[in-house]
């Protein structure tokens, strides 16, 4: 088997393994609580049926069954139908399969933009918002990071370089969502430049009007206007780190022998940097870029959305936690995991193609 094939196959097996292990683990951990939540929900529906149906109560009286007894009987029936009478490990394979085909169940509280309670609907509506925000910020970051990073790497120790190192330090140490709060305080409360975050959710969080062109353009305009502040926050906090990263990648590459040779050949510094250093530095740069997108989508950066009420996955986490909506959290965890692993897999393969040296070791994350 060729090395690249072997490499790709090992990586994919690894990620499938991770997916199955984590799914099983989360299910084992969550099963008792999720079950209890389900039973409570059914009990509530049965209670509601009892209250709204006087005929049922009378027929129960005629049979000599108390309402509580009836509810318990019905619960047993439902439990049997849904398979809750079996221990969790017997239900595990079915449950994992359900998740793999996105049958994530129904939420307790949170509704999708269209008003349904189907968890996969709710989450799939939210993902594009997060992706839009963090992908656009990453594009800006990469462009700025490369330009400034190169400038810093050419003159290490210069004023520009040192100030960006300090910027990176500060940006890395402060919580992004806190800076978001400060920006809301300044731009919304003190300067009235942007509408309050509550409005963002009201305007943006709905299915995009795809049929009507002018309406769609208006929607898009609103979306971009409301995205300004979140985008600014994410970009400003991460820019220092991005520059620092690019600078370090370039600087490390610059000490390699082939750069020394290129300089010795008498190539102008421009050519050395753009033709030799950058080309060699491309694989680590591409990986860090893709990793930073996934990292911000599933890391702490997503919390920033809650401050701006930007209706992505971060806000959904916040809403689900506040409303104690465990099924939604479970669904979110699963989807985050899935998307994260897929990205890592793609990244690994890409990296293996870009940099032949990687194939003999184990890849990006490992």
């Amino acid at each position: 088997m060729s090395s690249i094939k072997r490499y790709v196959i090992t990586r994919i097996i690894n990620y499938v393994l991770v997916l199955l292990i984590v799914l099983s683990l989360t299910y084992a951990v969550m099963a008792p609580i999720a079950d209890q939540a389900l039973i409570d929900m059914w009990r509530e529906t049965l209670n509601a049926r009892l209250r709204s149906d006087p005929k049922l109560i009378e027929s129960l009286k005629a049979k000599g069954i108390s309402p509580e007894e009836w509810i318990n009987q019905q619960l047993e029936v439902i439990k049997k139908r849904e398979g809750l009478d079996k221990p969790w490990y017997e239900r595990l394979p079915k449950r994992v399969f359900d998740m793999l085909v996105f049958r994530l169940g129904r939420s307790h509280l949170i509704r999708s933009f269209r008003g349904t309670r189907n968890i996969s609907d709710i989450i799939f509506e939210r993902i594009p918002f997060s992706v839009l925000l963090f992908t656009s910020s990453t594009i800006i970051l990469v462009v700025l990071g490369l330009i400034i990073g190169l400038a810093c790497a050419r003159k290490p120790g210069s004023l520009l370089d040192v100030s960006f190192i300090i910027y990176a330090l500060v940006g890395n140490s402060l919580p992004m969502w806190w800076l978001a709060m400060i920006l809301v305080l300044v731009f919304v409360y003190f300067l009235h430049l942007f509408p309050p975050p509550v409005e963002i959710k009201a305007v943006v969080a709905r299915p995009p009007p795809i049929g009507n062109v002018s309406e769609f353009i208006g929607y898009l305009g609103n979306l971009l206007y409301y995205m300004t502040l979140p985008l600014f926050t994410v970009t400003v906090v991460s820019l220092g780190a991005e520059v620092y990263l690019m600078r370090n990648i370039v600087l490390t590459t610059m000490t390699e022998d082939f750069v020394f040779v290129a300089r010795a050949k008498g190539l102008p510094e421009r050519d050395v940097i753009y033709k030799h250093v950058l080309r060699a530095a491309a694989p680590p740069i591409i990986t860090t870029v893709l990793l930073s997108i996934t990292g911000s989508l599933f890391g702490g950066a997503i919390i920033t959305e809650t401050v701006f009420m930007w209706p992505g996955m971060g806000l959904l986490y916040w809403e689900a936690i506040a409303g104690n909506d465990t099924p939604v959290v479970l669904g979110l965890v699963y989807l985050s995991l899935l998307v994260y692993l897929i990205t890592l897999a793609v990244l690994d393969v890409l990296y293996g193609i870009l940099d032949p040296r990687v194939r003999i070791t184990t890849g990006v994350t490992g």
Partner: protein, 473 residues
């Protein structure tokens, strides 16, 4: 142990110290690193003072989430120094408490008003004792410096027979009845719903005195007289307490729960340091040991151990943390445990590569030939070599873990038995502090998170500079 091995050990000890000393010499020359160390020492001193209860009341974590503990503090006011900067007048926090001798039916509290600002609220607490009676009439009147006398409260309270002690608490600002009385008394043509009771009570008489924007405080002595009477049996005032809430408080102001934010912020120090340092130390110890063992044995053991690392490091951290905190209930030890469980793989790749290199060195070969055990080689030869880098990992990990804990707390999954910076920001967020402009509630907690993180990051850069000369700072 043979004579030779002993000599070898002696020699080895010396070189180890030399290495550490050289490292320290390099480090001392880094301004960034030394300022980080100084900051860190300051934070450590604050933490020790907080934990040993010298500057913070010992029951603060317990009190932090109970509303009763804070009802004598003003609500949502900025820090005092802010008003000193902006030049706005300050109303000082005033609590006048008086005990009265037995048989007193009339209680008098005198307050000399000399501030240019109005209080944010006023509360009158009464404790009365009754004997053989269940109905008590309470009259509270205020005698103002301009010789106006207003009866602000005249009510007959029924007291359950069994209790002969009862307490009455009267919040003056939000009392609509008092508003009606005051509007009527001064003949102001405004609805009692829009007027500010405190401006009417303490303001100079004018048609505009109903609003805090136009009212001016009337200085002088105010006499609050509380009379209690009953038709049968006896009644007496035991104690009366007048609280005039300040419009600015302490060093850091207060929040919507009337909590003194300064105390909460102080308590954040030991917790942030505990989470950051402990978690970082644990993950690094686990990770470095794992990497050393994996790389030293190599072959199949290494392969299996690296597959495990792959699996652990592909698990997205935040979702799992949220899930577990929701399932098991928020708890600081749980969070630390989970962080260690899911992030110990951090520096493994680099350490493993380093050990691979060291393993091939001649002196390791020599040691092995001299009969040194694997454990001896691992801990006496390889560990000292990877120690500086491990130290770097610890230092870098601290701000990372502090940020993660703050994020979890901000989402509302913080340990409810401890006040943390993340939780203060969570409370600020759900009470609309950003849209209400309560900057003193929003800025300091995040600034402290950033400052603690920064001190470690500074040390980290200084260490990186020594370990990674290629990067040329």
């Amino acid at each position: 142990m043979s004579e030779r091995a002993k000599r070898y050990m002696e020699l080895y000890r010396k070189t180890k110290w030399v290495k550490l000393r050289l490292f320290w010499e390099d480090f001392k020359h880094s301004k960034l690193g030394m300022s980080g160390i100084v900051l860190l020492i300051i934070f450590a001193i604050i933490s020790i003072l907080v934990v040993s209860n010298t500057i913070v009341p010992s029951d603060l974590p317990k009190r932090w989430h109970s509303p009763e503990a804070w009802n004598e503090y003003p609500e949502l006011v900025p820090p005092e120094w802010w008003f000193k900067i902006t030049g706005e007048p300050i109303f000082p926090h005033t609590i006048i408490e008086k005990e009265f001798p037995e048989g007193e039916e009339e209680a008098v509290i005198t307050y000399y008003y000399e501030s240019d600002a109005f209080p944010t609220d006023a509360r009158l607490d009464l404790e009365i004792s009754t004997f053989n009676t269940s109905i008590v009439r309470i009259i509270i009147s205020v005698y103002r410096p301009d010789e106006e006398e207003i009866v602000i409260y005249d009510k007959t309270e029924s007291i359950t027979e069994r209790m002969n002690k009862s307490a009455i608490s009267l919040f003056i600002k939000r009392n609509s009845e008092i508003a009606r009385i005051l509007v009527h008394h001064f003949g102001i043509e405004k609805s009692p719903d829009v007027v500010n009771n405190l401006c009417l009570l303490f303001g100079e008489k004018s048609p505009d005195m109903w609003s805090p924007k136009t009212a001016k405080p009337l200085k002088g002595s105010y006499v609050f007289t509380i009379r209690v009477s009953t038709f049968e049996g006896e009644v007496e005032v035991d104690r009366a307490k007048l609280i005039l809430y300040a419009n600015a408080y302490g060093l850091m102001g207060t929040d919507s729960f009337r909590r003194d934010l300064f105390l909460g912020l102080l308590w954040g120090f030991p917790i942030a340091l505990l989470i950051g340092i402990l978690t970082s130390l644990l993950t690094t110890i686990v990770g470095v040991t794992y990497a050393m063992v994996s790389a030293y044995y190599g072959g199949y053991i290494d392969e299996i151990m690296q597959r495990i690392v792959d699996i652990v490091s592909s698990i997205p951290l935040l979702p799992i943390l949220i899930l577990c905190a929701m399932t098991f209930g928020p708890n600081i030890w749980l969070i630390i445990g989970l962080l260690v469980l899911f992030t110990w793989t951090g520096g493994i790749k680099t350490i493993r590569a380093m050990v691979f290199q060291i393993r091939e060195a001649a002196y390791i070969e020599t040691a092995r030939v001299a009969g040194a055990s694997t454990r001896w080689i691992l801990f006496k030869h390889i560990l000292p070599q990877v120690l500086p880098y491990s130290f770097y990992l610890v230092v870098l990990g601290v701000p990372y873990y502090i940020l993660i804990e703050a994020g979890i707390s901000y989402l509302g999954l913080g340990d409810p038995t401890l006040p943390t910076w993340g939780q203060i920001l969570h409370d600020a967020s759900i009470h609309g502090a950003t849209l209400g402009g309560y900057w003193w509630w929003v800025i300091p907690p995040g600034l402290l998170i950033a400052l603690v993180g920064l001190s470690f990051a500074m040390i980290g850069v200084a260490v990186d500079k020594i370990l990674n000369p290629k990067l040329r700072y």
